[in-house]
């Protein structure tokens, strides 16, 4: 197969940043200016001793160090390694010389191209939106280093080759490190076009270069926000209202202020903050606060009452999210009918690192250190809170101890709290770290919404699906946020993704949405809409397959004839799992599910054992994934493993419930997540592909719930209709 050279054709605005760094290190930096405001003059030389301003994607030092500047948050998904791999591949860098640092908040240079003009990480988009951009950056840097060698050696560029950070001239028996060429390269123009590598020549992409952060995350030296300290820094804990929507009526800080180490107690819009010389003093101070709350406008309903209301709404008229043919008529005319409903609780993200942020605020600047996920939005919200211009707000993005969507919220809740505390403290430049506790996190809202799904389908005499009606009831994630413009004709696509775009070839489809409003703040949670829609669709299609008398794999495959990538992962998972190897012993069962999320296709086969008490043990999961060009197969595998474990904990154990508006859970004792003893054996199979890469951080979560639920049915004959399922068959 011949490869057609890919001409990189990125936007025309380019800057070549020539930077002489500190002391002896000369750095070559390639940058791209996206704004259409004309060619920008960028400081050619950073004064000696100054901190280098990373306004680009790549820096090469005369010491041969290659620094890749990451515009995306590293929260575990391996994005730093993926980003560095793309750059290093086209650069032909020596992987052992590559390191990564985070980009500043600067949407002009570091926007997520999937988000448009916003800098941020989410929607499993980091690799997809960086692919062309960073290949181009790496390839142009390499081209300049080649030109530099050609100039130094007075030989044609065509006679030069590169490998692992070196330029070679075979005929002249000459070689040079990239670092030694930096000085000459600085004087050269950035090429307008560059030929990207033929994928068959990839050395790093598709290989398994080790994660850039693995060692530091093994010896305790990796720095999270929890670990970030500035001289004179104080620690703040915030007492928030016990009910969503309540506010402070009055408070007495006498006892709190008397706690040794407490420096100040301040009122902020979010509650009462205790600022102290350390966490423990702040905690004791917060415990000593006496607060009377005004809960006149608070949400006081129980989640059970909300679910009862959702069930009722499912039978009321709703808005159409998808309509093909006449599903009502088809179901009415059907030979056989099947119906079911599924209930999904509120879910907390519960990242291991409770939310935290360090803020240094004075009259003219606000500096933030956090595991920041939505830099542009957080910058704007921080500026608004501080009464500053966004340009006066700088953000240093640190490693995040998990997020799963939690840090990507449009109200910037924890950032705004930290800034408001620094402001109320006096905006005097005192660095303050806002630290959440686990209870703050579990009580803190911004949950995956609670949903009710109701499905009905009709089959003809041949056992083929003729009609499909799916009703979804629940809150909108993007309503009343800056993303609300994404709601079209009343449909929040994040409520129906995975359901409205159902891939199965069914002649009559109706998907309806009833959007509810409650006082409980909600947010996207790993894999967003597909965290519930995939369960409903894949559990229900299994019920339909059973009514048709066909096994779940065969039934699905027939409906996916026109979805080759989805069908391929389904077949691969089934084959590797031994789907046709015959039934498992009594008490055990196999279930299958498939999903597309963020343009990545994932199928999973789960094997479970259910004991006589209804305890479910997931023994094995076989996963097949098609995410386009696999950039780092080991990270893809890790994300599938982790996504399966994360999803499994949720469907088995996790729920946020409200009693009269009060969250009933508080910590990992009653907000249960997956533990070591419950982790199944997981095998991951990656579909070879040369398609553009898509994301892997989230999609692995989607199919595990229904795959397990379908396996439980195979083992016990019992269907799961409410999550978390806990024990099977126990009311």
């Amino acid at each position: 197969m011949t490869h057609k050279p890919v001409r990189s054709s990125l936007p025309t605005r380019r800057d070549f940043l020539k930077t002489a760094g500190t002391a002896s290190v000369v750095a070559l930096t390639i940058g791209f200016e996206w704004a259409a405001t004309g060619r920008r003059a960028v400081a050619a030389v950073t004064p000696p001793g100054a901190t280098f301003t990373p306004n680009a994607f790549l820096r090469i030092g005369s010491d041969n160090r290659v620094t890749v500047i990451a515009k995306h948050l590293e929260m575990g998904q391996g994005t730093y390694t993926g980003i560095a791999t793309i750059v290093a591949e086209e650069l032909d860098a020596d992987w052992t010389t590559v390191s990564v640092e985070s980009a500043p908040a600067d949407a002009k240079r570091y926007a997520n191209l999937v988000f448009g003009t916003l800098q941020g990480t989410g929607g499993s988009s980091a690799m997809a939106n960086s692919w062309a951009q960073l290949r181009d950056a790496g390839a142009k840097a390499r081209a300049m280093l080649l030109s530099a060698a050609a100039k130094d050696w007075h030989v044609p560029v065509a006679e030069l080759t590169t490998d692992k950070g070196m330029v070679y001239h075979a005929a002249g028996k000459r070689q040079a490190t990239y670092g030694s060429l930096v000085k000459t390269a600085l004087s050269l123009p950035v090429p307008d076009n560059v030929v990207l590598k033929d994928p068959k020549n990839f050395k790093l992409i598709g290989a398994r270069p080790p994660r850039v952060d693995a060692a530091a995350k093994t010896d305790g030296s990796a720095q999270f926000t929890l670990d970030f300290v500035l001289p004179g820094m104080l620690v703040a804990l915030l007492k928030r209202p016990p009910l969503f929507g309540a506010t402070v009526k009055s408070f007495d800080a006498t006892a709190a202020a008397a706690v040794p180490g407490v420096v100040k107690v301040v009122q902020v819009p979010g509650g009462i903050a205790v600022v102290a010389k350390g966490f423990w003093a702040a905690k004791l101070g917060r415990d000593a606060l006496k607060i009377e709350w005004d809960d006149s406008k608070a949400e006081k309903r129980s989640s059970s009452a909300l679910m009862a209301e959702y069930r009722r709404l499912a039978d009321q008229p709703a808005l159409s999210a998808r309509k093909v043919g006449d599903a009502h008529k088809a179901i009415g005319d059907a030979t056989r009918r099947v119906s079911a409903s599924y209930e999904f609780p509120y879910l907390a993200h519960a990242p291991m690192e409770p939310l935290d942020a360090v803020v240094k605020l004075d009259a003219s600047s606000c500096e933030i250190w956090a595991g920041d996920q939505f830099q542009t939005i957080d910058q704007a919200n921080a500026a608004h809170t501080a009464g500053l211009d966004p340009k006066q707000v700088s953000i240093h993005t640190l490693y995040a101890g998990g997020s799963f969507g939690r840090r990507a919220n449009t109200i910037s809740d924890y950032i705004v709290e930290a800034v408001s505390i620094a402001k109320a403290f006096g905006a005097d430049g005192t660095p303050i770290k806002l630290q959440w506790t686990r209870e703050d996190d579990i009580h803190g809202g911004l949950y995956r919404p609670m949903y009710f799904h109701k499905l009905e389908a009709g089959l003809n005499a041949q056992g083929e699906l003729t009609g499909w009606h799916h009703v979804i009831v629940g809150q909108s994630i993007i309503a009343d946020t800056i993303f609300a413009a994404g709601i079209k004709d009343g449909i929040d696509s994040t409520s129906v993704e995975g359901a409205a775009n159902i891939a199965y070839a069914i002649p009559n489809i109706a998907v309806d949405l009833s959007t509810t409003k409650t006082g409980v703040p909600v947010l996207w949670w790993r894999v967003v809409g597909s965290s519930h829609t995939t369960f409903a669709v894949e559990a229900f299609i299994d019920e339909a397959a059973h009514v048709a008398g066909v096994d779940g794999f065969t039934f699905r495959r027939k409906l996916l004839e026109h979805e080759p990538r989805m069908k391929a992962v389904l077949e691969l998972a089934a084959e590797k799992a031994g789907w046709n190897a015959g039934p498992l012993p009594p008490g055990r069962g196999r279930g299958i599910a498939v999903a597309e999320a963020f343009k990545t296709f994932v199928a999973q086969v789960a094997e479970v054992t259910v004991d006589r008490d209804g305890n479910v043990k997931v023994d094995r999961v076989v996963c097949a994934v098609d995410c386009g060009t696999p950039i780092n197969p080991d990270i893809i595998t890790a994300q599938m493993e982790g996504g399966i474990g994360f999803g499994l904990g949720a469907v088995m154990h996790s729920a946020i419930t409200l009693k009269d508006g009060r969250v009933e859970q508080g910590n990992f004792n009653n907000y249960r997540v997956l533990r070591m003893n419950e982790m199944p054996k997981i095998e991951v199979h990656i579909v070879p592909s040369t398609a553009p890469p898509t994301g892997v951080g989230e999609p692995g979560v989607a199919p595990i719930g229904p795959a397990v639920a379908n396996a439980i049915f195979a083992a016990t004959g019992k269907r799961v209709h409410a999550l978390p399922f806990g024990k099977v068959g126990v009311a």
């Binding site: 952060d213 999270f224 350390g278 990242p351 101890g401 982790g642 399966i644 474990g645 910590n667 070591m676």
Partner: protein
């Protein structure tokens, strides 16, 4: 009132509220940041340290309780078991977000220091108190087996 104990092989005297959990004394008084805060009630294991060689949760242990005792944190791990565990962690690319991994490494090391050839059941028993929200459990299990294997040679 100061508390004196062995910290990573050296005598340490920390002048802090004796009721302060060891976690915060280590982090904010001794300046050792490898030990993490995850739950504050011994439910997640992110704060795991060794007390006289036993894996314990420092978030619920008052500083006063370690007077005269021997505490090892991730920064002070030097045993051959610890080195084998950390080498296996990197070899098998265990960490994702990495936040819980100090605690995981401390629990795994304590396990191998007592049990040279742990079974899967031994690993479940020793490691189920350490939550990883990234669910790196499969690799943790494999890395513990790999470390045990490497120590046999």
């Amino acid at each position: 009132m100061p508390t004196t104990f062995r910290l990573n092989g050296q005598t340490a005297t920390l002048d802090a509220d004796p009721s302060m959990p060891l976690l915060w004394a280590l982090r904010e008084v001794a300046g050792l940041h490898g030990t993490k805060f995850g739950c504050g009630m011994a439910m997640c294991g992110a704060c795991t340290v060794h007390l006289d060689g036993q894996a314990v949760r420092s978030c619920v242990m008052p500083l006063s309780a370690v007077e005269g005792r021997d505490i090892t944190t991730i920064e002070g791990l030097h045993s051959k078991q610890a080195k084998a565990v950390q080498a296996a962690w990197v070899e098998l690319q265990v960490p994702q977000c990495g936040y819980c991994q100090s605690g995981q490494v401390m629990s795994a090391t304590a396990l191998l220091e007592k049990n040279a050839a742990p079974t899967d059941a031994d690993i479940d028993s020793a490691m189920s108190g350490n939550i990883c929200r990234c669910a790196t459990y499969q690799r943790i299990r494999a890395a513990i087996h790999s470390a045990a294997q490497s120590l046999k040679v």
